[in-house]
Symmetry: D2
Subunit: 339 residues, 4 copies
């Protein structure tokens, strides 16, 4: 079983069906088609607010293009050290923003805590043009270490942002897993909590290649569209991005897929703990970070499990990621197999 | 019938079939999968030379990422005024290259002519660090105005580039149409003629969203991969870019599709000429640029034809683009319909 | 005599005196000193309007930093083909603006004509995010070919800018020469005519190394100061930039120097015409562009005159530049020397 | 007495004299003059090796332009958290390099320690295009906290760089103070120790506005010159940068000025310690970082001393900087004044 990443999963049947249906007729290019035209309304309904949706094919694009409209070339983006934008997107943020600097800080399970954030920002000595001033805070929901911000936590961060006049961006590569865990309305952890824009992930959770930039502040739309085009992220056959996204949110496919992945992670956690592993922190989404002996790791690999070590948390820590298509029966069977 | 662009076409059955086949199993992310691993070999066979292939989802990305490895932030890219990189990619080239300047020149049917190119380059007064020196020449095959460079023409341009120590890049958004027209080996108009890198178009000609950067100079590979990642163009489910590309070149689908589009364009040209339109220049690929009266334009639109005016060629000039799925029987029937 | 450029001149006695006076006492760094604090008031008086002044050491810096606040990374700057920003500043504009594109056009003596400008802008087909939209017009006063815009001409250009909602920037590397020629108030050809910002040149006309960004739209100040710092153009001993500027505008040194240079150019023109040369266009500032035979050029060089050929105007065209320190008596003596 | 910074000092008599001497005659622009032509030879003699010298007006420009040739847009620059490039140059490094990322680490007195550096680099998990790989190490000599690297320390860092195939850059804003302290040959702590390029500071130590990029790897010269021009740092009256630099290194003015400033700092340290302050770490150059009570700070301010608090080292830590013109007699008199 492959727990290396949720990126190893294929795309889901609902999206295959939708793409197949769109594989025969002509339609206007660059988003002028009927399907693309439905995006704003569909996501506005989903979020209970007028939003603008700009789809792109990757999460890095969604994050970096969003930030390019939220921060100046002279500004700073406060994020967690473990943030994907800090650790996994090369120099993308500086590239798209024209130079903005990441200002990383710590926090448990890759979460920013509102009080530490407040202190971090307040403690930065503003030396005018010499120093870099924070202009935006970026959080990841669920975090890179598998934790989920509660509604209260995001709300408190939103308040810190307003207090310091900062933008709030959410990297929602695994937003579905977070909402499935929280069982809240998607509005509660986004615009109602003060989030200006989110990259609404779909690829990891059942799409082929699409994440959506969802703007709760619609005034950003024009800059985002300009930035998308000139960075080569405007697809000519734009409808296939839109087709994936609509199929993804219709009939709650996104939540169904995420709930399944979360459940699979829980099932796996149970198996691993029984084998002697311990969770580094509570598993809330579809990612597990576990501490275990080399012997156990070897035993699991011998049993056909694929997963990565996670050296930033310790040499004896490993990550397991479940996905929308992870077979829970097979996990349960592991109990027998592993003894 | 929709002749607005080849971008209005859907993706072709062979690609749907290939994607469907890849919609169930897990596979490593970011190009570590078996399908992605086949790309270099498949394209090396296609071009008769060891090449490196870096797929991206759009032509703008393919062009701009390629140029970022071919020109310095202080350098110039000689291209035609009508070039897509000059007219249709916003400020993408400057963005990806860190500032490189387009140095546009003229030429018939959006072609650079080798002798004019030689003069253009030689005539630029080199004022050291003050002025921008050409470092690369970019040509489009087939051109934005539907013309196709012959093998001799590309070869002559390649010689000018070597003479002046410049790189040669080919925007091959409609490369298939050009090769289908020339009936040459793809090597003849690329690396054998001195081309360093090509953006090998697939999206317009039957793919959903993929163009391939094909490097004839493999030493560029590492920089291209870095540039792709940090610009958000590395897909996590990379295999779906690879799947499209392999299906596209297997069994000569790319040439079959292009030959069909070219043939449809010829059939349409015949119809339009019979109606009183004249070709602005010979139709060699799948694009027609025709001069006609407003009356004729209105008559065609009344008959259900969709197409764009092309003001840069004159207020009475229009563009028609055929695609891999254009129905030639329907075109032939136009003869009757239009009278 | 050296007519190669006004850049070959040293700095003038008034500036030496002022610098010398400031060479002994300590003072706050980075513009916190008393002299720097006088700049805004001094230039506000000069221009008859509240302005913000941000000094830098070079004209390229003044131009490019200014444009970085007037145009987005996706926008275009309309300028003359001969404009310094287009021909002599490497890829500086793209670098500072994050990618903005120069949109060069023609016009007599390197001037933009308001009617052609209006047509040029109106004729650009706006294809949304695909194409580059003009956001700013940049003119040079006096022009790179030695012509001076009249008050009416600048005013008319300002009206075109307002009509199309564009910013208007003036490269005033030789602004003093223009004002000395026009004998107008500096306000008449700047903010009263619709100019948003000017790079107010001093280096060519008697300073050691300083040009001032003068903002008629004060709201741009903060962005300009950020851009100046991060591009390394904020001097720690800022007072020496300010000292030069204040000495330059006190007692009308700037106009005195420029009037002298203009007069010297006129005197030289007389000499050259008498020798058989013809002016390519009327000499209005301190630059002459003359057509003459190779024999005459040789004769002048033999007589010790230094000057450059100007191939963009023809192989028989040459440029002569007078400066604040050009010896007019020596020019008059040329009449005798040359016969 | 003003101990706020060495930037508050004026420029020194030797430089005033040299500038005055160059204030009357014409000379070629942009470095074509005789004085500028002497730079390479003069600095080659100073460093005992063929070097290339590119002068600019500020330290930020010297640092950032240098780094733009030492690191790719995808690469990382390892530096100390307190480094000027990390804390005081806005987003300059990202701007000039096209996106390169600073990778800050800790160390005593703002020094990188070779063993920690080795570990820091070795511990970074290379995740290919996803992560940022170190390509360059940047150290400051003397450091931002007033410490001086010994010859052995720089040599050891140079060895770590070679081991990991990294470039080594030195921010030498206070290089003179370091060499004056070490009493070594300038070669010993630069190219002989593995440094590729240094920004050789002059402004803080007696110049008006000039720092020199000195390249020990001459192959970098062309890129540096291109970067200087397009960032607006090539002065037209280049000779005045060169004049300052030559006067600065002739007759060892640079070392004389620095030795004086260092001596003044020592004298001040003695006074402050006697008053009850303690040094945070040994004072080696011209900067003191001292811990003292608010009462003592108040007493010193009442006595007319100007200095800054240094919150990054603690709320009770203050910085005092002596300069080339600090009056040592006046410091000695403080003993009496303060009692």
């Amino acid at each position: 079983m492959n727990f290396a990443s949720d990126n190893v999963s294929p795309f889901c049947p609902e999206i295959l069906e939708a793409l197949t249906k769109e594989a025969s007729a002509n339609a206007p290019a660059y988003g002028g088609d009927e399907i693309s035209q439905q995006l704003d309304a569909a996501f506005s309904e989903l979020f209970g607010k007028d939003v603008a949706v700009i789809p792109v094919a990757t999460g890095t694009a969604a994050n970096c293009i969003s930030l390019s409209a939220l921060v100046s070339p002279y500004g700073g983006v406060v994020c967690h050290h473990e943030a994907h934008i800090n650790e996994d997107e090369s120099t993308g943020v500086a590239f798209f923003t024209g130079g903005a600097k990441l200002l990383p800080m710590d926090g448990p399970a890759a979460k920013l805590e509102s009080s530490s954030l407040d202190t971090f920002i307040a403690d930065r000595v503003d030396r005018g043009v010499h120093s870099v001033s924070p202009e935006c805070v970026a959080i990841t929901q669920a975090t890179e270490l598998g934790a989920v911000y509660s509604v209260d936590e995001v709300t408190a961060i939103g308040e810190v942002c307003r207090k310091h006049d900062l933008r709030l961006f959410m990297d929602g590569a695994r937003f579905a897993n977070a909402v499935a865990h929280l069982k809240c309305h998607p509005a509660d952890v986004t615009w109602k909590a003060g989030v200006d824009a989110i990259s609404f992930g779909a690829t990891k959770n059942g799409a082929m290649a699409v994440d959506a930039i969802v703007l709760f502040d619609i005034s950003l739309k024009s800059r985002i569209e300009q930035a998308r085009k000139r960075s080569g992220h405007l697809h000519s056959k734009h409808r296939y991005l839109a087709t994936q996204l609509l199929a993804y949110i219709q009939y709650d496919v996104w939540l169904k897929n995420a709930a399944h992945a979360n459940e699979a992670a829980q099932a796996l956690a149970e198996v691993l703990i029984r084998q002697g592993a311990t969770l580094v922190h509570a598993a809330e989404g579809n990612e597990l970070f576990v501490k275990m002996s080399p012997e156990l790791a070897g035993k699991l690999r011998d049993a056909g499990l694929m997963f990565h070590g996670w050296p930033s948390l310790g040499t004896d820590v490993y990550r397991f990621v479940a996905a929308w298509n992870t077979d829970i029966v097979q996990i349960t069977n592991l109990k027998t197999t592993l003894g």
